[in-house]
Protein backbone atom coordinates (compact mmCIF):
# COMPACT_ATOMS: atom_id res chain seq x y z
CA UNK A 1 0.00 0.00 0.00
CA UNK A 2 2.67 2.46 0.98
CA UNK A 3 4.44 1.65 -2.27
CA UNK A 4 1.43 2.81 -4.28
CA UNK A 5 1.54 6.13 -2.42
CA UNK A 6 4.92 6.84 -4.00
CA UNK A 7 3.48 6.87 -7.52
CA UNK A 8 -0.12 7.93 -6.83
CA UNK A 9 0.49 11.73 -6.95
CA UNK A 10 1.90 11.42 -10.47
CA UNK A 11 -0.24 8.59 -11.84
CA UNK A 12 -3.65 9.65 -10.60
CA UNK A 13 -3.98 12.92 -12.56
CA UNK A 14 -2.36 11.20 -15.56
CA UNK A 15 -4.99 8.43 -15.53
CA UNK A 16 -7.99 10.64 -14.77
CA UNK A 17 -7.16 13.08 -17.62
CA UNK A 18 -8.12 10.71 -20.50
CA UNK A 19 -11.18 9.65 -18.51
CA UNK A 20 -12.31 13.28 -18.33
CA UNK A 21 -12.04 13.61 -22.12
CA UNK A 22 -13.86 10.29 -22.63
CA UNK A 23 -16.79 11.33 -20.44
CA UNK A 24 -17.10 14.61 -22.30
CA UNK A 25 -19.26 16.27 -19.64
CA UNK A 26 -18.02 19.55 -18.18
CA UNK A 27 -19.55 19.13 -14.73
CA UNK A 28 -18.39 15.52 -14.38
CA UNK A 29 -15.00 16.59 -15.74
CA UNK A 30 -14.66 19.31 -13.11
CA UNK A 31 -15.72 16.96 -10.30
CA UNK A 32 -13.33 14.23 -11.44
CA UNK A 33 -10.47 16.72 -11.74
CA UNK A 34 -11.08 18.11 -8.24
CA UNK A 35 -11.34 14.57 -6.85
CA UNK A 36 -8.10 13.51 -8.56
CA UNK A 37 -6.28 16.54 -7.19
CA UNK A 38 -7.76 15.94 -3.74
CA UNK A 39 -6.66 12.30 -3.60
CA UNK A 40 -3.23 13.21 -5.01
CA UNK A 41 -2.90 15.89 -2.32
CA UNK A 42 -3.86 13.42 0.41
CA UNK A 43 -1.45 10.83 -1.00
CA UNK A 44 1.45 13.29 -0.98
CA UNK A 45 0.50 14.41 2.54
CA UNK A 46 0.54 10.77 3.63
CA UNK A 47 4.15 10.53 2.45
CA UNK A 48 5.30 13.25 4.85
CA UNK A 49 5.37 11.38 8.20
CA UNK A 50 8.03 8.96 6.97
CA UNK A 51 10.24 11.79 5.69
CA UNK A 52 12.98 11.19 8.26
CA UNK A 53 13.53 7.59 7.15
CA UNK A 54 15.52 8.60 4.11
CA UNK A 55 14.72 8.31 0.41
CA UNK A 56 12.13 5.79 -0.78
CA UNK A 57 12.20 4.41 -4.29
CA UNK A 58 9.65 2.79 -6.63
CA UNK A 59 10.85 0.65 -9.54
CA UNK A 60 8.59 0.85 -12.60
CA UNK A 61 7.87 -2.50 -14.22
CA UNK A 62 10.02 -4.04 -11.49
CA UNK A 63 13.14 -3.21 -13.48
CA UNK A 64 15.93 -2.46 -11.01
CA UNK A 65 17.72 0.89 -11.41
CA UNK A 66 19.88 2.01 -13.15
CA UNK A 67 18.27 -0.04 -15.98
CA UNK A 68 14.68 0.78 -15.20
CA UNK A 69 12.96 4.01 -14.28
CA UNK A 70 12.65 4.71 -10.58
CA UNK A 71 10.87 7.38 -8.59
CA UNK A 72 12.83 8.59 -5.59
CA UNK A 73 11.00 10.52 -2.90
CA UNK A 74 13.25 12.18 -0.36
CA UNK A 75 13.22 15.15 1.98
CA UNK A 76 13.59 17.71 -0.78
CA UNK A 77 10.91 16.69 -3.28
CA UNK A 78 8.19 15.16 -1.07
CA UNK A 79 7.12 18.47 0.56
CA UNK A 80 7.12 20.14 -2.87
CA UNK A 81 4.87 17.34 -4.17
CA UNK A 82 2.35 18.33 -1.51
CA UNK A 83 2.67 22.02 -2.41
CA UNK A 84 2.11 21.31 -6.11
CA UNK A 85 -0.92 19.08 -5.59
CA UNK A 86 -2.49 21.35 -2.98
CA UNK A 87 -2.19 24.42 -5.20
CA UNK A 88 -3.69 22.45 -8.10
CA UNK A 89 -6.57 21.43 -5.83
CA UNK A 90 -7.36 25.04 -4.83
CA UNK A 91 -7.06 26.29 -8.41
CA UNK A 92 -9.30 23.49 -9.70
CA UNK A 93 -11.96 24.22 -7.08
CA UNK A 94 -11.97 27.79 -8.39
CA UNK A 95 -12.04 26.69 -12.04
CA UNK A 96 -15.70 25.63 -12.12
CA UNK A 97 -17.40 25.41 -15.52
CA UNK A 98 -19.22 28.63 -14.54
CA UNK A 99 -15.87 30.39 -13.96
CA UNK A 100 -14.66 29.38 -17.39
CA UNK A 101 -17.97 30.69 -18.74
CA UNK A 102 -18.19 30.04 -22.44
CA UNK A 103 -14.50 30.30 -23.17
CA UNK A 104 -14.42 26.80 -24.63
CA UNK A 105 -17.76 26.35 -26.35
CA UNK A 106 -18.42 22.92 -24.91
CA UNK A 107 -14.81 21.75 -24.80
CA UNK A 108 -14.26 22.32 -21.08
CA UNK A 109 -13.36 18.63 -20.52
CA UNK A 110 -10.24 19.23 -22.60
CA UNK A 111 -9.34 22.16 -20.32
CA UNK A 112 -9.62 19.95 -17.23
CA UNK A 113 -7.64 17.18 -18.92
CA UNK A 114 -4.86 19.65 -19.78
CA UNK A 115 -4.87 20.94 -16.21
CA UNK A 116 -4.54 17.42 -14.81
CA UNK A 117 -1.79 16.50 -17.27
CA UNK A 118 0.08 19.69 -16.37
CA UNK A 119 -0.20 18.76 -12.70
CA UNK A 120 0.98 15.23 -13.43
CA UNK A 121 3.96 16.59 -15.38
CA UNK A 122 5.03 18.89 -12.55
CA UNK A 123 4.64 16.10 -9.99
CA UNK A 124 6.62 13.83 -12.29
CA UNK A 125 9.56 16.25 -12.48
CA UNK A 126 9.59 16.26 -8.69
CA UNK A 127 9.21 12.53 -8.14
CA UNK A 128 11.37 10.94 -10.79
CA UNK A 129 14.88 9.70 -10.23
CA UNK A 130 15.65 9.48 -13.92
CA UNK A 131 17.18 12.39 -15.85
CA UNK A 132 15.43 11.63 -19.15
CA UNK A 133 12.14 11.27 -17.32
CA UNK A 134 12.63 14.84 -16.10
CA UNK A 135 12.69 15.99 -19.72
CA UNK A 136 9.59 13.97 -20.61
CA UNK A 137 7.62 15.36 -17.68
CA UNK A 138 8.90 18.86 -18.41
CA UNK A 139 7.50 18.58 -21.92
CA UNK A 140 4.18 17.16 -20.66
CA UNK A 141 3.71 20.04 -18.24
CA UNK A 142 4.95 22.67 -20.71
CA UNK A 143 2.74 21.53 -23.61
CA UNK A 144 -0.29 21.56 -21.33
CA UNK A 145 0.67 25.00 -20.01
CA UNK A 146 0.71 26.42 -23.55
CA UNK A 147 -2.82 25.11 -24.10
CA UNK A 148 -4.04 26.42 -20.75
CA UNK A 149 -2.53 29.88 -21.33
CA UNK A 150 -4.02 30.05 -24.83
CA UNK A 151 -7.45 29.45 -23.23
CA UNK A 152 -7.23 32.84 -21.52
CA UNK A 153 -9.86 35.51 -22.04
CA UNK A 154 -7.62 38.25 -23.46
CA UNK A 155 -7.37 38.70 -27.22
CA UNK A 156 -3.60 38.38 -26.83
CA UNK A 157 -3.78 35.10 -24.91
CA UNK A 158 -3.07 32.92 -27.93
CA UNK A 159 -0.14 35.13 -28.91
CA UNK A 160 1.27 35.06 -25.38
CA UNK A 161 0.94 31.26 -25.38
CA UNK A 162 2.70 31.08 -28.73
CA UNK A 163 5.59 33.26 -27.55
CA UNK A 164 5.87 31.13 -24.42
CA UNK A 165 5.81 28.04 -26.65
CA UNK A 166 8.82 29.32 -28.62
CA UNK A 167 10.81 30.12 -25.47
CA UNK A 168 9.64 27.03 -23.62
CA UNK A 169 10.61 24.79 -26.53
CA UNK A 170 14.06 26.40 -26.50
CA UNK A 171 14.33 25.64 -22.80
CA UNK A 172 13.10 22.09 -23.34
CA UNK A 173 15.64 21.58 -26.14
CA UNK A 174 18.46 22.72 -23.85
CA UNK A 175 17.30 20.21 -21.25
CA UNK A 176 17.16 17.40 -23.83
CA UNK A 177 20.63 18.30 -25.13
CA UNK A 178 21.97 18.41 -21.59
CA UNK A 179 20.56 14.99 -20.76
CA UNK A 180 22.00 13.69 -24.04
CA UNK A 181 25.45 15.04 -23.15
CA UNK A 182 25.24 13.42 -19.72
CA UNK A 183 24.26 10.11 -21.31
CA UNK A 184 27.18 10.43 -23.72
CA UNK A 185 29.61 11.15 -20.88
CA UNK A 186 28.43 8.43 -18.50
CA UNK A 187 26.21 5.94 -20.33
CA UNK A 188 23.46 6.23 -17.73
CA UNK A 189 20.30 8.25 -17.12
CA UNK A 190 19.54 7.29 -13.54
CA UNK A 191 20.22 10.25 -11.23
CA UNK A 192 21.85 8.30 -8.42
CA UNK A 193 24.01 6.51 -10.96
CA UNK A 194 24.83 9.80 -12.72
CA UNK A 195 25.89 11.34 -9.40
CA UNK A 196 28.49 8.59 -9.05
CA UNK A 197 29.67 8.49 -12.64
CA UNK A 198 29.72 12.17 -13.63
CA UNK A 199 32.79 13.06 -11.50
CA UNK A 200 34.69 10.01 -12.80
CA UNK A 201 33.72 10.45 -16.44
CA UNK A 202 36.64 10.56 -18.84
CA UNK A 203 34.61 13.06 -20.88
CA UNK A 204 34.59 15.74 -18.18
CA UNK A 205 34.03 18.60 -20.63
CA UNK A 206 31.03 16.85 -22.19
CA UNK A 207 29.54 16.31 -18.75
CA UNK A 208 30.13 19.96 -17.82
CA UNK A 209 28.59 21.16 -21.09
CA UNK A 210 25.57 18.96 -20.32
CA UNK A 211 25.24 20.48 -16.87
CA UNK A 212 25.43 24.01 -18.30
CA UNK A 213 22.73 23.21 -20.89
CA UNK A 214 20.48 21.73 -18.22
CA UNK A 215 20.97 24.79 -16.03
CA UNK A 216 20.16 27.06 -18.96
CA UNK A 217 16.97 25.14 -19.77
CA UNK A 218 15.66 25.15 -16.23
CA UNK A 219 16.76 28.75 -15.59
CA UNK A 220 14.45 29.67 -18.46
CA UNK A 221 11.58 27.53 -17.16
CA UNK A 222 12.02 28.92 -13.63
CA UNK A 223 12.08 32.53 -14.92
CA UNK A 224 15.43 33.16 -13.24
CA UNK A 225 17.12 36.45 -14.14
CA UNK A 226 17.83 37.24 -17.01
CA UNK A 227 15.46 34.68 -18.61
CA UNK A 228 12.30 35.92 -16.87
CA UNK A 229 10.75 37.94 -19.69
CA UNK A 230 8.05 35.40 -20.60
CA UNK A 231 6.61 35.19 -17.10
CA UNK A 232 4.62 38.47 -16.85
CA UNK A 233 3.05 37.96 -20.29
CA UNK A 234 1.97 34.43 -19.40
CA UNK A 235 0.55 35.36 -15.98
CA UNK A 236 -1.36 38.24 -17.54
CA UNK A 237 -2.77 36.18 -20.42
CA UNK A 238 -3.83 32.91 -18.75
CA UNK A 239 -7.28 32.23 -17.24
CA UNK A 240 -7.08 33.29 -13.60
CA UNK A 241 -7.25 29.83 -11.95
CA UNK A 242 -4.40 28.76 -14.25
CA UNK A 243 -2.37 31.83 -13.29
CA UNK A 244 -2.93 31.00 -9.62
CA UNK A 245 -1.76 27.42 -10.19
CA UNK A 246 1.30 28.41 -12.22
CA UNK A 247 2.24 31.17 -9.77
CA UNK A 248 1.93 28.81 -6.81
CA UNK A 249 4.12 25.98 -8.04
CA UNK A 250 5.21 25.78 -11.70
CA UNK A 251 8.36 27.94 -11.53
CA UNK A 252 9.23 26.45 -8.15
CA UNK A 253 9.31 22.97 -9.68
CA UNK A 254 11.85 24.27 -12.22
CA UNK A 255 13.94 25.73 -9.39
CA UNK A 256 13.81 22.33 -7.70
CA UNK A 257 15.04 20.69 -10.93
CA UNK A 258 17.89 23.22 -11.15
CA UNK A 259 18.96 22.60 -7.57
CA UNK A 260 18.59 18.84 -7.85
CA UNK A 261 20.50 18.48 -11.11
CA UNK A 262 23.24 21.07 -10.53
CA UNK A 263 23.91 20.78 -6.80
CA UNK A 264 22.93 17.17 -6.10
CA UNK A 265 23.43 15.09 -9.26
CA UNK A 266 26.22 17.01 -11.02
CA UNK A 267 27.61 18.25 -7.67
CA UNK A 268 28.89 21.44 -9.30
CA UNK A 269 29.26 22.84 -5.78
CA UNK A 270 30.90 26.22 -5.29
CA UNK A 271 30.74 27.40 -8.93
CA UNK A 272 27.03 26.67 -9.38
CA UNK A 273 26.17 28.14 -5.99
CA UNK A 274 28.06 31.34 -6.86
CA UNK A 275 26.10 31.54 -10.13
CA UNK A 276 22.79 30.86 -8.34
CA UNK A 277 23.60 33.58 -5.82
CA UNK A 278 24.43 36.09 -8.55
CA UNK A 279 21.33 35.57 -10.72
CA UNK A 280 19.16 35.34 -7.61
CA UNK A 281 20.33 38.63 -6.10
CA UNK A 282 20.13 40.56 -9.38
CA UNK A 283 16.71 38.99 -10.02
CA UNK A 284 15.45 39.94 -6.55
CA UNK A 285 16.20 43.64 -7.11
CA UNK A 286 15.26 43.67 -10.81
CA UNK A 287 11.92 41.94 -10.18
CA UNK A 288 11.01 44.24 -7.30
CA UNK A 289 11.94 47.37 -9.28
CA UNK A 290 9.98 46.19 -12.31
CA UNK A 291 6.98 45.39 -10.10
CA UNK A 292 6.95 48.97 -8.81
CA UNK A 293 6.50 50.46 -12.29
CA UNK A 294 4.02 48.03 -13.89
CA UNK A 295 0.69 49.45 -15.07
CA UNK A 296 -0.97 46.03 -15.22
CA UNK A 297 -2.09 44.40 -11.96
CA UNK A 298 -1.11 40.86 -12.91
CA UNK A 299 2.19 41.87 -14.46
CA UNK A 300 3.04 43.62 -11.22
CA UNK A 301 2.41 40.43 -9.25
CA UNK A 302 4.33 38.41 -11.84
CA UNK A 303 7.40 40.65 -11.44
CA UNK A 304 7.04 40.33 -7.70
CA UNK A 305 7.19 36.56 -8.28
CA UNK A 306 10.49 36.98 -10.12
CA UNK A 307 11.79 38.77 -7.04
CA UNK A 308 10.36 36.22 -4.60
CA UNK A 309 11.64 33.23 -6.58
CA UNK A 310 15.07 34.84 -6.31
CA UNK A 311 14.81 34.44 -2.52
CA UNK A 312 14.50 30.66 -2.96
CA UNK A 313 17.47 30.41 -5.28
CA UNK A 314 19.52 32.71 -3.04
CA UNK A 315 18.67 30.54 -0.02
CA UNK A 316 19.92 27.43 -1.84
CA UNK A 317 23.04 29.29 -2.98
CA UNK A 318 24.13 29.70 0.66
CA UNK A 319 24.84 25.97 0.71
CA UNK A 320 23.99 25.56 4.39
CA UNK A 321 21.29 23.62 6.22
CA UNK A 322 19.84 26.94 7.45
CA UNK A 323 19.66 28.12 3.83
CA UNK A 324 17.75 25.00 2.77
CA UNK A 325 15.32 25.54 5.65
CA UNK A 326 14.75 29.12 4.50
CA UNK A 327 14.19 27.87 0.94
CA UNK A 328 11.61 25.30 2.08
CA UNK A 329 9.70 27.93 4.09
CA UNK A 330 9.80 30.33 1.13
CA UNK A 331 8.56 27.58 -1.25
CA UNK A 332 5.41 27.12 0.85
CA UNK A 333 5.02 30.73 1.92
CA UNK A 334 5.22 32.16 -1.58
CA UNK A 335 3.06 29.34 -2.95
CA UNK A 336 0.27 30.10 -0.48
CA UNK A 337 0.57 33.89 -0.74
CA UNK A 338 0.96 34.38 -4.50
CA UNK A 339 -1.43 31.56 -5.39
CA UNK A 340 -3.90 32.95 -2.87
CA UNK A 341 -3.53 36.48 -4.23
CA UNK A 342 -4.32 35.41 -7.79
CA UNK A 343 -7.29 33.36 -6.52
CA UNK A 344 -8.56 36.30 -4.48
CA UNK A 345 -8.16 38.71 -7.39
CA UNK A 346 -10.18 36.37 -9.57
CA UNK A 347 -11.00 37.87 -12.94
CA UNK A 348 -9.79 41.36 -11.88
CA UNK A 349 -7.12 42.43 -14.35
CA UNK A 350 -6.45 46.12 -13.79
CA UNK A 351 -6.09 48.31 -10.72
CA UNK A 352 -9.40 49.95 -11.68
CA UNK A 353 -11.19 46.60 -11.34
CA UNK A 354 -10.30 46.68 -7.65
CA UNK A 355 -11.67 50.14 -7.01
CA UNK A 356 -14.02 50.21 -4.04
CA UNK A 357 -13.66 46.52 -3.27
CA UNK A 358 -13.95 47.39 0.43
CA UNK A 359 -17.64 48.20 0.00
CA UNK A 360 -18.46 45.83 -2.84
CA UNK A 361 -16.97 42.61 -1.47
CA UNK A 362 -15.68 42.99 2.09
CA UNK A 363 -14.57 39.34 2.40
CA UNK A 364 -12.52 39.45 -0.77
CA UNK A 365 -11.07 42.77 0.37
CA UNK A 366 -10.09 41.27 3.73
CA UNK A 367 -8.35 38.28 2.12
CA UNK A 368 -6.55 40.47 -0.41
CA UNK A 369 -5.33 42.73 2.37
CA UNK A 370 -4.13 39.85 4.55
CA UNK A 371 -2.38 38.10 1.65
CA UNK A 372 -0.72 41.36 0.58
CA UNK A 373 0.55 41.77 4.14
CA UNK A 374 1.95 38.26 3.85
CA UNK A 375 3.72 39.26 0.64
CA UNK A 376 5.15 42.25 2.51
CA UNK A 377 6.39 40.02 5.32
CA UNK A 378 4.30 41.39 8.18
CA UNK A 379 4.83 39.37 11.40
CA UNK A 380 2.50 36.40 12.09
CA UNK A 381 2.26 35.67 8.34
CA UNK A 382 4.23 33.08 6.39
CA UNK A 383 5.99 35.88 4.53
CA UNK A 384 7.58 37.03 7.76
CA UNK A 385 8.66 33.51 8.73
CA UNK A 386 10.26 33.06 5.31
CA UNK A 387 12.09 36.39 5.32
CA UNK A 388 13.25 35.91 8.91
CA UNK A 389 14.64 32.47 8.11
CA UNK A 390 16.32 33.81 4.98
CA UNK A 391 17.87 36.80 6.76
CA UNK A 392 19.20 34.68 9.62
CA UNK A 393 20.57 32.09 7.17
CA UNK A 394 22.33 34.84 5.21
CA UNK A 395 23.68 36.37 8.42
CA UNK A 396 24.90 32.95 9.59
CA UNK A 397 26.70 32.41 6.31
CA UNK A 398 28.19 35.90 6.58
CA UNK A 399 26.65 36.99 3.29
CA UNK A 400 26.46 40.77 3.82
CA UNK A 401 25.47 41.66 0.25
CA UNK A 402 22.63 39.14 0.30
CA UNK A 403 21.41 40.54 3.61
CA UNK A 404 21.35 44.05 2.17
CA UNK A 405 19.62 42.98 -1.04
CA UNK A 406 16.84 41.10 0.78
CA UNK A 407 16.18 44.08 3.07
CA UNK A 408 16.25 46.54 0.14
CA UNK A 409 13.81 44.39 -1.88
CA UNK A 410 11.51 44.20 1.15
CA UNK A 411 11.36 47.99 1.14
CA UNK A 412 10.53 47.93 -2.57
CA UNK A 413 7.81 45.38 -1.78
CA UNK A 414 6.14 48.03 0.39
CA UNK A 415 5.81 50.21 -2.71
CA UNK A 416 4.15 47.63 -4.93
CA UNK A 417 2.00 46.18 -2.16
CA UNK A 418 0.61 49.63 -1.37
CA UNK A 419 -0.14 50.10 -5.06
CA UNK A 420 -2.34 46.99 -4.79
CA UNK A 421 -4.08 48.08 -1.59
CA UNK A 422 -4.68 51.70 -2.61
CA UNK A 423 -7.58 51.06 -5.06
CA UNK A 424 -9.03 48.38 -2.75
CA UNK A 425 -9.32 50.67 0.25
CA UNK A 426 -9.27 54.26 -0.95
CA UNK A 427 -10.90 54.48 -4.37
CA UNK A 428 -14.64 54.65 -4.96
CA UNK A 429 -16.21 51.86 -7.06
CA UNK A 430 -16.13 52.72 -10.74
CA UNK A 431 -17.88 49.94 -12.58
CA UNK A 432 -19.29 46.49 -11.98
CA UNK A 433 -16.83 43.64 -11.81
CA UNK A 434 -17.90 40.36 -13.44
CA UNK A 435 -20.03 38.24 -11.13
CA UNK A 436 -18.87 34.80 -10.09
CA UNK A 437 -20.31 31.94 -8.06
CA UNK A 438 -19.58 32.76 -4.45
CA UNK A 439 -18.04 29.47 -3.34
CA UNK A 440 -15.56 29.50 -6.21
CA UNK A 441 -14.69 33.07 -5.37
CA UNK A 442 -14.20 32.69 -1.65
CA UNK A 443 -13.31 29.16 -0.63
CA UNK A 444 -9.93 28.72 -2.38
CA UNK A 445 -8.44 32.11 -1.42
CA UNK A 446 -9.80 31.64 2.11
CA UNK A 447 -7.99 28.30 2.36
CA UNK A 448 -4.82 29.92 1.01
CA UNK A 449 -5.10 32.72 3.59
CA UNK A 450 -5.54 30.18 6.38
CA UNK A 451 -2.55 28.24 5.06
CA UNK A 452 -0.52 31.45 5.07
CA UNK A 453 -1.25 32.05 8.76
CA UNK A 454 -0.72 28.39 9.63
CA UNK A 455 2.68 28.53 7.94
CA UNK A 456 3.51 31.76 9.74
CA UNK A 457 2.48 30.59 13.20
CA UNK A 458 3.77 27.00 13.19
CA UNK A 459 7.25 25.63 12.42
CA UNK A 460 5.64 23.10 10.03
CA UNK A 461 7.45 24.25 6.86
CA UNK A 462 10.72 24.71 8.77
CA UNK A 463 10.55 21.05 9.83
CA UNK A 464 11.23 20.08 6.19
CA UNK A 465 14.54 21.92 6.32
CA UNK A 466 16.51 19.14 7.88
CA UNK A 467 15.30 16.25 5.67
CA UNK A 468 15.76 18.47 2.61
CA UNK A 469 19.31 19.39 3.64
CA UNK A 470 20.00 15.69 4.23
CA UNK A 471 18.72 14.90 0.74
CA UNK A 472 21.28 17.38 -0.65
CA UNK A 473 23.97 16.03 1.64
CA UNK A 474 24.34 19.35 3.49
CA UNK A 475 23.29 18.00 6.87
CA UNK A 476 24.23 14.80 8.70
Amino acid sequence: MSEILLIAPVLLPLLIAPLVVMLGSQRAGWLLAVLAALVATLASAALLPALGEGPRSYHFGNWPPPFGIEYVLDGLNTPLLLLTNASALLALIAATPATLAGRFAGREPVFYALFLLCLSGLSGILATGDAFNVFVFLEISSLCTYGLVAAGPRPGSALAAFQYLILGTLGGSFVLLGVGFWLQATGTLNMADLAQRLPQSEYGEVALAGSVLLLLGFALKSASFPLQQWLPAVYAAAPWPVTAFLAACATKVAIYAMVRLALDVAALGEAARWLFGLIALVGIVWGALAACVQRDLRRMLAWSSVSQLGYILFAFSLGTAAGVTAAMIQFFSHGAIKGGLFLALGPARSFDDLAGLREREPWRCAMLTLLTMGLLGVPLTAGFAAKWALLSAAAQAGHGIGLGVVIFSSLLAVVYCLRLLEPVWLRAPQRDAPQLPRHAMLLPPALATLAMFALGLTPWAASFGRPAAQALGWAP
Binding site: A17, P18, Y58, H59, G61, G106
Partner: protein, 143 residues
Protein backbone atom coordinates in the same frame (compact mmCIF):
# COMPACT_ATOMS: atom_id res chain seq x y z
CA UNK B 1 -16.10 14.84 -53.35
CA UNK B 2 -13.60 17.28 -54.76
CA UNK B 3 -14.02 17.39 -58.50
CA UNK B 4 -10.48 18.72 -58.96
CA UNK B 5 -8.73 15.35 -58.49
CA UNK B 6 -7.99 13.75 -61.86
CA UNK B 7 -9.17 10.22 -62.43
CA UNK B 8 -5.61 8.82 -62.38
CA UNK B 9 -4.96 10.28 -58.93
CA UNK B 10 -8.25 8.93 -57.64
CA UNK B 11 -7.72 5.42 -58.98
CA UNK B 12 -4.11 5.26 -57.74
CA UNK B 13 -5.15 6.54 -54.31
CA UNK B 14 -7.86 3.90 -54.06
CA UNK B 15 -5.20 1.28 -54.79
CA UNK B 16 -2.72 2.81 -52.34
CA UNK B 17 -4.79 3.46 -49.22
CA UNK B 18 -5.51 -0.18 -48.25
CA UNK B 19 -1.82 -1.26 -48.49
CA UNK B 20 -0.82 1.80 -46.42
CA UNK B 21 -3.30 0.90 -43.69
CA UNK B 22 -2.22 -2.74 -43.87
CA UNK B 23 1.43 -1.71 -43.62
CA UNK B 24 0.53 0.38 -40.56
CA UNK B 25 -0.93 -2.73 -38.91
CA UNK B 26 2.20 -4.71 -39.87
CA UNK B 27 4.47 -2.05 -38.31
CA UNK B 28 2.17 -2.06 -35.28
CA UNK B 29 2.10 -5.77 -34.56
CA UNK B 30 5.48 -6.79 -35.91
CA UNK B 31 7.07 -3.99 -33.88
CA UNK B 32 7.88 -6.45 -31.10
CA UNK B 33 10.22 -8.38 -33.37
CA UNK B 34 11.41 -5.88 -35.95
CA UNK B 35 11.65 -2.15 -36.44
CA UNK B 36 8.38 -0.43 -35.70
CA UNK B 37 5.97 0.12 -32.88
CA UNK B 38 2.89 2.04 -31.92
CA UNK B 39 4.08 5.54 -32.72
CA UNK B 40 5.27 4.79 -36.24
CA UNK B 41 2.23 2.65 -36.96
CA UNK B 42 -0.12 5.37 -35.76
CA UNK B 43 1.55 7.94 -37.99
CA UNK B 44 1.44 5.65 -41.03
CA UNK B 45 -2.23 4.84 -40.42
CA UNK B 46 -3.05 8.53 -40.11
CA UNK B 47 -1.04 9.27 -43.25
CA UNK B 48 -3.21 6.80 -45.17
CA UNK B 49 -6.37 8.63 -44.06
CA UNK B 50 -4.75 12.01 -44.79
CA UNK B 51 -3.98 10.87 -48.36
CA UNK B 52 -7.60 9.78 -48.72
CA UNK B 53 -8.79 13.15 -47.39
CA UNK B 54 -6.53 15.08 -49.77
CA UNK B 55 -7.87 13.32 -52.83
CA UNK B 56 -11.52 12.73 -51.94
CA UNK B 57 -12.10 15.71 -49.69
CA UNK B 58 -12.09 16.35 -45.96
CA UNK B 59 -15.83 15.77 -45.62
CA UNK B 60 -15.57 12.27 -47.13
CA UNK B 61 -12.75 11.43 -44.72
CA UNK B 62 -14.78 12.79 -41.82
CA UNK B 63 -17.60 10.44 -42.82
CA UNK B 64 -15.15 7.54 -42.41
CA UNK B 65 -13.57 8.74 -39.15
CA UNK B 66 -15.61 11.56 -37.58
CA UNK B 67 -13.70 13.90 -35.21
CA UNK B 68 -16.15 13.03 -32.42
CA UNK B 69 -15.02 9.39 -32.65
CA UNK B 70 -11.36 10.40 -32.79
CA UNK B 71 -11.79 12.57 -29.69
CA UNK B 72 -12.88 9.37 -27.87
CA UNK B 73 -10.25 7.13 -29.47
CA UNK B 74 -7.31 9.34 -28.41
CA UNK B 75 -7.94 8.95 -24.66
CA UNK B 76 -8.97 5.31 -25.18
CA UNK B 77 -5.42 4.42 -26.24
CA UNK B 78 -3.99 6.09 -23.15
CA UNK B 79 -6.52 4.24 -21.00
CA UNK B 80 -5.54 0.90 -22.59
CA UNK B 81 -1.88 1.66 -21.79
CA UNK B 82 -2.74 2.60 -18.21
CA UNK B 83 -5.03 -0.40 -17.78
CA UNK B 84 -2.09 -2.71 -18.48
CA UNK B 85 -0.07 -0.81 -15.89
CA UNK B 86 -2.88 -0.88 -13.35
CA UNK B 87 -3.47 -4.62 -13.92
CA UNK B 88 0.04 -5.23 -12.61
CA UNK B 89 -0.64 -2.96 -9.64
CA UNK B 90 -3.96 -4.72 -8.91
CA UNK B 91 -2.43 -8.20 -8.98
CA UNK B 92 0.33 -7.32 -6.54
CA UNK B 93 3.07 -6.58 -9.06
CA UNK B 94 4.68 -3.23 -9.82
CA UNK B 95 3.09 -0.67 -12.14
CA UNK B 96 3.75 -1.73 -15.77
CA UNK B 97 5.28 -5.04 -14.71
CA UNK B 98 4.14 -7.12 -17.71
CA UNK B 99 5.08 -10.34 -15.96
CA UNK B 100 1.74 -9.92 -14.14
CA UNK B 101 -0.10 -10.72 -17.39
CA UNK B 102 1.18 -14.29 -17.39
CA UNK B 103 2.72 -15.26 -14.04
CA UNK B 104 3.31 -18.83 -15.29
CA UNK B 105 5.50 -17.64 -18.14
CA UNK B 106 6.84 -14.13 -17.43
CA UNK B 107 8.56 -13.87 -20.82
CA UNK B 108 5.20 -14.41 -22.55
CA UNK B 109 3.72 -11.84 -20.20
CA UNK B 110 6.35 -9.31 -21.33
CA UNK B 111 5.41 -9.99 -24.98
CA UNK B 112 1.72 -9.62 -24.30
CA UNK B 113 2.18 -6.46 -22.26
CA UNK B 114 4.32 -4.81 -24.91
CA UNK B 115 1.81 -5.75 -27.63
CA UNK B 116 -1.07 -4.24 -25.65
CA UNK B 117 0.59 -0.99 -24.63
CA UNK B 118 1.97 -0.44 -28.14
CA UNK B 119 -1.54 -0.91 -29.51
CA UNK B 120 -2.69 1.77 -27.08
CA UNK B 121 0.07 4.07 -28.31
CA UNK B 122 -0.88 3.36 -31.94
CA UNK B 123 -4.56 4.18 -31.39
CA UNK B 124 -3.78 7.43 -29.59
CA UNK B 125 -1.14 8.57 -32.09
CA UNK B 126 -3.33 7.84 -35.12
CA UNK B 127 -6.33 9.61 -33.55
CA UNK B 128 -4.27 12.61 -32.44
CA UNK B 129 -2.55 12.98 -35.83
CA UNK B 130 -5.92 13.01 -37.58
CA UNK B 131 -7.38 15.45 -35.06
CA UNK B 132 -4.43 17.77 -35.73
CA UNK B 133 -5.00 17.39 -39.47
CA UNK B 134 -8.73 18.11 -39.17
CA UNK B 135 -8.03 21.12 -36.92
CA UNK B 136 -5.53 22.65 -39.31
CA UNK B 137 -7.76 22.11 -42.34
CA UNK B 138 -10.90 23.48 -40.73
CA UNK B 139 -9.24 26.36 -38.79
CA UNK B 140 -11.82 25.73 -36.10
CA UNK B 141 -11.80 23.19 -33.25
CA UNK B 142 -13.24 19.91 -34.59
CA UNK B 143 -16.40 18.69 -32.93
Amino acid sequence: MRTGSPVVVRVVTKQLVPPILLFALYVQFHGDYGPGGGFQAGVIFAAGIVLYAMVFGIETAKAVLPPSVLLRLAPLGVLLFSAVGLYGLATGYHFLDYAALDPEDPAHGQHLGLLLIEFGVGVTVAATMLLLFYTFTSRRPPR
